[in-house]
Symmetry: C2
Subunit: 347 residues, 2 copies
């Protein structure tokens, strides 16, 4: 299989190196060869050629079976005046590849409960999946700026809502059959559209799935107050961005959470949900678990190698059982030592 790797900025290169080591090893164990094609994105691409998503990178991604990304942007590169920003590379890539469904699973590992601010008894049995709409909403609407004001347009079409609701309902069928759709329908027109479409798609096609609606403000409470009750949570782009970082509190660290961004067929994009963490970049201490678990999602969703995916997840789980921890989890190990431990557990 052909895999494009986009290390990006900050800790991105460190965690993708860890992830590709694991990918190569699981391939060796199961008799696959993965061809790895590294390309530039984000700030690293701007430095090299002035563009956050070079044409070469995009073309390579389109040809690939899957894309593994580290992170882009971050405070160091937060030049507000700049007309070209690293994040644009990632946003354009998601849009160009039609990756409208961003899957962010959250399943706290028993060994990481100490690192969570949430009381441990609330975390037992938590196993949820956020499906974030990724190519619409206020991220991609028209943006205006004058000397005295600025604006961002949030837009959703019926078709955009339908396809992500469908995806969420299908995913729920293979899980515990429950979907909570999150919006702000008491204030926003896009949210009223969202709720109507969700209600209709559910009634017409997914009567076997249980659908509930929540307002985003209430959801910001319920998500952590009664996390066990959630199975699939589906929401629009911006709400999904906020709620998944919040959900990371359940797992103990953002450094443990992978994601898969999928369209209808075609290539998938896999990336940790954490950012480029410029404050710790280059020091060899970044947590590689999220990138490694993104490899598992890549194996499962793009390459249909379920056994290999499960092997990676089990190796991670064993390493966590053994308290193989970076600093964010309360440990002292570096990126490489954690990766070595995961490799040692691979079988």
């Amino acid at each position: 299989a052909e895999i494009v790797v986009l290390p990006g900025d900050g800790v991105g290169p460190e965690v993708t190196r860890a992830a590709t080591r694991v990918l190569a090893e699981v391939g060796a164990h199961h008799g696959h060869t993965f061809a790895i094609h590294p390309h530039l994105i984000g700030g690293a691409a701007i430095d090299a050629c002035g563009e956050p998503l070079p044409a070469d990178t995009l073309a390579a991604c389109r040809r690939a079976d899957a894309v593994l990304l580290g992170a882009v942007g971050g405070p160091q590169r937060a030049n507000l005046q700049a007309t070209v920003r690293p994040e644009q590379g990632l946003l354009a890539l998601r849009k160009e590849l039609g990756l409208y469904a961003n899957l962010r699973p959250v399943k706290p590992h028993p060994a990481a409960l100490d690192a969570s601010p949430i009381k441990p008894h609330l975390l037992v049995g938590v196993d949820l999946l956020v499906v974030r709409e990724l190519t619409g909403g206020i991220y991609f609407g028209d943006k205006q700026r004058s000397a005295t004001a600025a604006s961002d347009l949030c837009e959703y079409s019926v078709a955009e809502v339908e396809r992500v609701i469908r995806r969420a309902c299908k995913l729920a069928r293979a899980r515990r059959g429950k979907v909570v759709s999150v919006d702000k329908a008491n204030v926003l027109e896009t949210s009223r559209l969202w709720r109507e479409v969700a209600t209709r798609v559910h009634a017409e096609e997914f009567a076997d799935v249980q659908l509930e609606h929540q307002l985003v403000d209430s959801m910001a409470m319920h998500l952590l107050a009664r996390p066990r009750e959630f199975d699939v949570i589906v929401t629009e782009n911006m709400f999904g961005d906020i709620l998944t970082d919040e959900a990371a509190l359940l797992a103990g660290s953002l450094g443990l959470l992978p994601s898969a961004s999928l369209g209808d067929g075609g290539v998938g994009l896999y990336e940790p949900i954490h950012g480029s963490a410029p404050d710790i970049a280059g020091r060899g201490i970044a947590n590689p678990y999220a990138a490694i678990l993104s490899v598992a999602m890549l194996l499962r969703h793009s390459l249909r190698l379920e056994d290999e995916a499960a092997a990676v997840e089990q190796a991670v789980s064993r390493a966590l059982d053994a308290h193989v921890f970076t600093a964010d989890l309360g440990g002292t190990l570096g990126t490489e030592a954690v990766t070595d431990a995961v490799l040692a557990q691979l079988q």
Copy 2:
């Protein structure tokens, strides 16, 4: 003083009744008479006259020294097809009265720590104030709807950002001198404007205050992972809506959190941050603390009666010390019993 009371929908009438009892009693203790003028808003107003904010109500609010509100809207009334919605009454009132700064203090009470999903040691010493911009942003921008799509426009002017940042910095001066401004400047144009204006206003007028910027997704984590570190948090309307409901987890219950909505001079609006809770409405079990603490904010901010405000807060604190709890706090008492206990503690 002239106080307009807007009970509104759901549990609104129950909790405002509790609040006005406390207001009358603290007045009696300190030799003030408060004239209470009840008016309609929200679903109750739609039922009576077809409009969520009748002209009479608005006129009375403009004439008043302060407005005390219960809650509006809620699921029972969530008719998506309706062209007139209860929430519009509240949004229009905030806008018409120019109440651009919504103050939402969060200071967990030791007796309520059990009700919080957050580990108790993280809550010790938490004392933060969210200043939410309340009359701009995506709540008030142009809304469009067609058969196939919908949109909401998020707009901010320089002047709108300046005034709320100033208010937050001034409030921080009277506290611990720290402000965190929350935006999504790596994606949104309105957030880049927000960050630039915050940076400039701070540099020009508030060099004595410490200012930090956070992205809203990161903030959704930090708020609960290290809550003690925050003093004043200032943010735009929608982010403030989400983050304050999340912050309620620190206090153990939404039912404990009051708010004050202020403009430049003129009348102030005081309301619990909880909603109309239709599921428990009319059963006499709603938590009245948030409404009672909103009375304290009213006494302080609109009537400049600091001793009276402190007396109400102390009475609430004593009642909580004595575990005078409604169901949301793990207790069994009803609205009236809790209110009686607070009145008994008033001195």
